[in-house]
Symmetry: C2
Subunit: 346 residues, 2 copies
DNA sequence: GTGAAAGCGCTAACAT
DNA sequence: ATGTTAGCGCTTTCAC
């Protein structure tokens, strides 16, 4: 079991009494080379266990076939679903993914951008952290001539294509859904407004109220981040302030969970008389005792769409590529619904 | 907004009237260089927007600071949690992650191994696909002298360290938990036995039965894969065969979900009289109307442990590194439990 | 159809 | 303290 350390083109060439150029061309099926030598070369390469060094290849070609992906979190369905979408398209197009997680920290996001650029990725896919407030490090990417596509979360001031969902419309629909059912005391647990999803979802909520003759009350909008803990503390705050809604609209699914935890621990009495709405659903919602009504976010689609846009951009850096805004719809749990893995839609 | 295409060491050197070697050393704070030139160099580098080319660096150093990770699925909590653990340790140690997904296909797994090796990753972390039956492509990694650590799922015949959980013990405990509560009619929806988790969990189930004076019945062990759809079809099969258990022990959490779906659709009457046990839990179990009792798998820990082992291996390729088997325990849902994000244990 | 030369951007070893 | 040389493994001209 010899540790056959690194067979190179040169090695093959020597054994065959030819030069590495011929070997290189043979292995890439270059028309220059005769069929017979190609065969010999390939055979020898197999025999020696040759494997090309993509580092060297990338260095000469100035192309790595690699993209960088930065997400705020990884073990949250939305992002892992998105990643799945990204991965699918990347795989089909022979790109590898370098995965980075910002943990919702702007500093980490910046440093990851730097690392990925130094790795010479061919493009970047980023969903910004909830902290991110300045666009410079993102604009820098574009300035370097590296294609960038933002997805789901974005901030202003960056010259890059974005794939988002109709945040405002979705939030509007959710709020309206509640209002239509006579639920008028609707608290919104919101995200930070520096990020689109925070701002737009809140706007959708407020617009729906207004269009139904109600006035949004700042006291009923509790601001926080996009994670479970944020939802929890938002819920605690709501309870401590003595607010008693008949519906809660949470800016993300994790936030909704946090709110539920807060209610279960601090004021379980209101639990059953409260309808939870969340922006973003979860596959397991169908097993819940109090299922949410939610705004469906096509997470995989967001990912695949973002990757597709990026591919276009990488293909033609000057193509002007338009933002994509995917539609959303309201989903209520249906007892008899086909489980997702048996369904082929979406 | 000049597209300052690729400033190199040479560029900085020329502007400063020195050589690129000095520049290189300066930027890496090599003791050779005087403080004054270091400062000048760094200043100039900033000014020109220099960013080192890791491709070139890796090529010369023969080290990429990159590891490859191959998982069967991505949008399943267990794997995204594992990834989170891997990522945490990798980040702390300045390694980047190239992420690949096998989609439970042996072919894809093989091709990813090949790609990652050609990318010159410094190490590999793999959880094998449910299809994987031959160890050659994995042994090949080790033969190439590239450190490899398997996690959660493994197969025999590979010379690599593994991080697993106590599958057999966990399965035993789950089965015993049921037996202790008077549930003796226990169906096992099992995975494939070429992979450790399939084999060992089934063994744990059978041993528990035997130790309690019962004889495992092959009719009550329904074999499939590790995903939701597998669970669904397993459940359907169980129902069609007219089997009527009082508990079901599922080899994975997704499988348990599939079984539940099958029951909900095909025979909802038995739903409430049935206790579901699953190997592997889910954070959202606490919101379920019929919560599972589950074998807790420390997913993040598996990931961080695997990455730590890999680091050791990469540090000293000849260190013989022992497998790690993490303990499991049974968790039942507790109404008043602290939500995980407020907890600081494990 | 095959090969010689040059270079991608970097660093380590060895001068000076 | 700074520079010279050489090379990592590959591919792209451009000769022959």
């Amino acid at each position: 079991m010899a540790k056959s350390n690194h067979v190179t083109l040169e090695d093959i060439a020597k054994k065959l009494g030819i030069t590495k150029v011929t070997v290189s061309k043979s292995l890439r099926d270059h028309p220059d080379i005769s069929t017979s030598t190609k065969e010999k070369v390939k055979e020898k390469a197999d025999e020696l266990g040759y494997r090309r060094n993509r580092l060297a290849q990338s260095l000469t070609l100035n192309k790595t076939n690699t993209i960088g992906v930065i997400v705020p979190k990884i073990s949250h369905t939305f992002f892992s679903d998105t990643l799945e979408g990204i991965n699918r398209v990347a795989y089909d197009n022979d790109y590898e993914i370098v995965l980075c997680v910002s943990e919702e920290k702007e500093e980490r996001e910046k440093s990851h951008v730097d690392t990925l650029l130094s790795m010479q990725v061919d493009g970047l896919l980023i969903s910004v952290s909830e902290e991110t407030s300045s666009p410079e490090h993102l604009q820098e990417i574009t300035n370097q001539g590296v294609p960038l596509v933002l997805f789901d979360r974005r901030i202003d001031g960056v010259d890059a294509a974005c794939v988002t969902v109709d945040d405002q419309g979705g939030a509007y629909k959710a709020t309206e859904h509640a209002l239509d059912r006579g639920l008028t005391e609707i608290v919104h647990i919101s995200g930070y407004s520096n990020v689109n999803i925070g701002k737009n979802r809140q706007a959708g909520y407020e617009n729906a109220l207004r269009d139904h003759g109600l006035t949004p009350d700042d006291e009923w909008i509790i601001e926080g981040g996009f994670g479970e803990a944020d939802g929890y503390w938002g819920g605690v705050e709501m309870i401590e302030r003595g607010i008693n809604p008949d519906a809660i609209f949470a800016v993300t699914f994790p936030v909704a969970l946090g709110v539920e935890d807060a209610i279960r621990r601090k004021k379980p009495s209101i639990r059953d008389s409260l309808q939870i709405y969340s922006f973003g659903q979860h596959e397991l919602n169908r097993f819940f005792s109090n299922p949410h009504t939610s705004v469906h976010q096509p997470a995989k689609k967001i990912g695949s769409e973002a990757m597709s846009l990026l591919l276009k951009r990488m293909d033609d850096p000057d193509a002007d590529i338009l933002d994509v805004e995917l539609p959303t719809h309201i989903v209520e749990v249906q007892e008899d619904a086909l489980p997702p893995y048996l369904d082929d839609g979406s």
